[in-house]
Structure formats: C-alpha cells, structure tokens
Amino acid sequence: MASFERASPALKEILLRIYNAEKPIEVDHHLYEFGSVEYHIKSSVSEPQVTYLSISTPFLSQGVFLSYGLSPFTLKMVRQISTDVLHIVEPANDGYQLTLRLDFSKLPHNKESLNIITEVSSVQAVILSSQLKEMLQNVNSGDSSQGMYKPIKLIYHPKEPFYVIRQPQKIVAVFPMRFKDNSDVIIATSFFQELIDVVSLKKWAKVPPCNWSPIPPLELRGEPFEDLSTNGGFVSFDISSHHVEGKRLDKIVWSLLNFYAYVKHHVKCTRGFIQRRMRRGLDNLIEVLEKSRVEDGQIKKVQGWKKMRKMVASKSKMIKRRWGDLGKKIKRIRFRIKIHGFARFRRRWLKMPSFSSSTGYTKLQTNGNNN
C-alpha cells in the first residue's frame, strides 16, 4: 500500500536534529522540495529553544488566493497544529508566505514531542489542503442565482492541474489524466474501470460516486485547450455534503490531492509486476525446451530402428558411436577465443581413434614368391 506522507522528511529530520541537540547549534538552512516549495529554517545560539520556520509554496488556486495571501481559515488550520509550540509571525519574512516561531521548550518530554514535530513538518500539506477544505465545506452554500459555475483550476502537482466545479447540492472534482507511455494509458484505463465498478457496489454507497470519460465533461468546455488535451481521459468525483462531515473532510481532501500520485504509483507497480511475471514465464518455457535435448549416449528412439537396437550389441561398436558423437560435437563447437596453433594440436591429438574391426583382416606382406 503506497504511503503518501504529509510530513516533509527532510524538514522533520532537521527539526529533530535541532530539538535533540545536546548543545544549542546555529542553523540557517534553505530546503527545496518538488521544485517549487521552499523552507527556511533558522536557529541561533542566542535563542536556543526557538527556531524560525518560513515557508514559500505555490497556492492550489492561483487566481483566488494570490492577492490576499493566506486566508484566515488557512491560518486557523496552521495554528491548530500546536497552539503551545507554534506561533505565526506577522509579517512573514521576505519571499515567504508564512513564518512560524517554534518554541521547543513547550514540547512535552515524551513521545508526543515526535508527533508534534511531525505535524509541524506537514505544514505545507496543511496549507494546501486547507484551501480545498474551505471550498468543500461550503458544498451547500453555493450561489444558486448563477446558472453555470466557473470551474476553479487547482494545481497540487506541477503540470497536473485538476478542476473543482461548484454545482447545486454538490461539488465535482475533475482530474484530466495524462501519461507518457501508451501502455501506461491502457493500464490506467483498466484501473479506472475497476474503480467505477467497485464504487457502484452497495458496500461503497457512502463514498463519492466516480465517473470516467474519454472526453472532457460539459462543465470544462470553456477551458484552455492545453489543459484539456489528455490521453487518459477524465476522472470525476461527485462530493456531497454528507461526504465532508466531521473527520471525513480531512481524509477526502488528502485523497483528492494525492489522486494523481496514487494512480501513477499503481501504474508503476503494475509494470514491475508484469516484468516479474514475464521472467517467471520465461523460466517455465525454457524448462520445456531443455527436456528436448539429446543426451550423450542416449539411444534415439526412432520408429523403424528397433531391430537395429538389438543388432548393436558389441561393446566396441558402442564405444565407436560415442566417440563419433563426441567428435561431431567437438567439430561443431565454435571457439570464440582463437588460440594460435590450437588447430594443429586438435588435428594431431584430438583425432578420433581408429578401432580395428572384428570382421576385418590384416593384409599380409607378400615375399614375392607365391607358393
């Protein structure tokens, strides 16, 4: 099962190192992730228990939030990570959307401290998911005076946007799917069909309904062509108000944000699985061929030669046949490495020995006088 952690592993490691350090250490560390997320961690010896963490991350939706910075809902979600340890510094440092002041002296001295540091390391996921949560929380509060709602383009992974369209009584999340390889497209399409089949079962009645279509849905028809040109079709989830009640909101948001990564991980694992199965199939097929080899000394069972088997009784003839087979094999062997003078050696010493025939005769030398 793929695990898509919310916490940044590098940030977590740095924070743990600062927290567990025996002596106060001076830290001024810039960290970059996914090409567009930047962290700045600063800790000085003069304030040993305090660390400043600044984050710069592209927003999910560029148009709505850019002019206002982080929304109050997002700031509220960030504060909820830990009210004692974490304080928001306003204004944020230059070039960053958010600066946090972490007071490690307020951390409990047990395993809970590790959980809090892990939560702090997932601040980037909190910022992005809070934006989607804000949209999904207002499922039923859409302005019904507008006939058609404009789709909101959200970007979690670079070059992989997805759309959220507000409709009466529900919100539709549409994922245009793109893959580099044709075989990836077919594996993914097979996965989407299985997903739709599973969702249609009674057991999964409580999950958001899922659809797949090779053409863009009607709601996206006005969007730019480059965003709608796909080879994997469009997957859409219909989210109603009962899907986002209580703790389900957080789960659904994280699942939607990581849908692309989940599908790509599944396609990659399936390719590896196919490769392993093919290797096993190859070994099974080669085994069958190996059984058809003619072994040394084995008498070939050919129809019509049964009487000949009885006739071949003498030991010398058997030895002669074995030498003959061996000689043929030696002649057929192709020497990859040429050894100078080996051909002469072979002709002289590896020559087939000649056996005297039991029915043959020795020619007597005549003395010239015939008596």
Binding site: F191, K251, T270, R277, G281, L289, R293
Partner: protein
C-alpha cells in the same frame, strides 16, 4: 472453444511433423557457407510451399519450409487493448532473450507476433518430436500466460481501487 484450439494445434503438429525433414545443405551461391535457405529465399528449388493455418481472423500460423530450415511464425489472439499490450510486451521480452531458446528468432516476421527458425543443426541437437511438442506447448502456454497476466492486472486494479476507497 477448447475444441477449436485442439483442432488448430493438431493441424499445426501434423504439418510440422511432415515439414520438419531437414538436412544439411551448403549454400549454392557462396562457397563454404551454410545458410538457412528459408531466410534467404534465393533458390526457389530449395523452398517448399508455405502453409498458413488460421484458427480465426486473429490467430494464425505460417510454416515456411526449405531443405535445411523451417520458419514458424505465430499471430497470437488479442481480444482487447490490455491483451494487446501484454502480448506485445511479453513476446518482445521473449524475443530479446532469443539465445535462451536457440530456436527463437529475435525479430518476428512482418505481420506476426513471434517467429521460430529451426535449422538442421537444431534437429541434430534436439529431438524432433520434443521440438514439435515444445512449439505446440509454447503456443498453449503463451495464451495461458497472457490470460493470467490480464486477470492479474485486473485483480490488482480492483484491490488498489478498494484500498483507495477505504480512505474516504
């Protein structure tokens, strides 16, 4: 369905038994060269009529024979796109490892998915009956492998979809 497969395989087996009568025949055009005549096709008198055995439009077997070699080309059934890519991947995988099979051709004949080239030397090293058994068994096993692969991929997809939905 199984009966048509049996008939198809029996027909191929009988044809191979008749066609696989190979003998050593040096090249007529170049001295001291010994080439499989079925590949070169320079001397028509050394070639026999090719035999095409079709199970249906999608599955067929072409057997081309010459005095010292025989070429068997197979077209495997591919019912949908998934079977298409699985068959293509698997047969390409086997072709790239042709040295392990000895009798397998690295590149299939145009219009077919996989090809074998059997020469008189192979018939001397390997038993003819078992070689024919191998070809027929290969055809059965390929179909079985591709069907199993397809089923495994679908089952995996279903399991992964189930796990994904558990998160909601």
């Amino acid at each position: 369905m199984a009966s048509t497969l049996r008939l198809y395989l029996t027909c191929i087996r009988n044809t191979l038994e008749a066609a696989m009568c190979l003998q050593n025949f040096p090249c007529q055009e170049v001295e001291r060269h010994n080439k499989p005549e079925v590949e070169l096709k320079t001397s028509p008198e050394l070639l026999l009529n090719p035999v095409l055995i079709c199970r249906n439009e999608a599955e067929k077997c072409l057997i081309e024979t010459s005095i010292n070699s025989i070429r068997i080309s197979l077209k495997v059934k591919q019912a949908d796109e998934l079977e298409n890519i699985l068959a293509k991947k698997f047969l390409r995988f086997l072709s790239m490892r042709a040295e392990a099979f000895q009798v397998l051709r690295r590149k299939p004949v145009q219009g077919y998915d996989i090809s074998f080239l059997i020469t008189n030397y192979h018939c001397e090293e390997l038993q003819k009956q078992k070689l024919i058994d191998f070809i027929v068994q290969f055809m059965e096993d390929i179909d079985k492998e591709i069907s199993e692969l397809k089923m495994s991929v679908s089952t995996r997809g279903r399991l992964v979809a189930t796990e994904f939905l558990k998160q909601f």
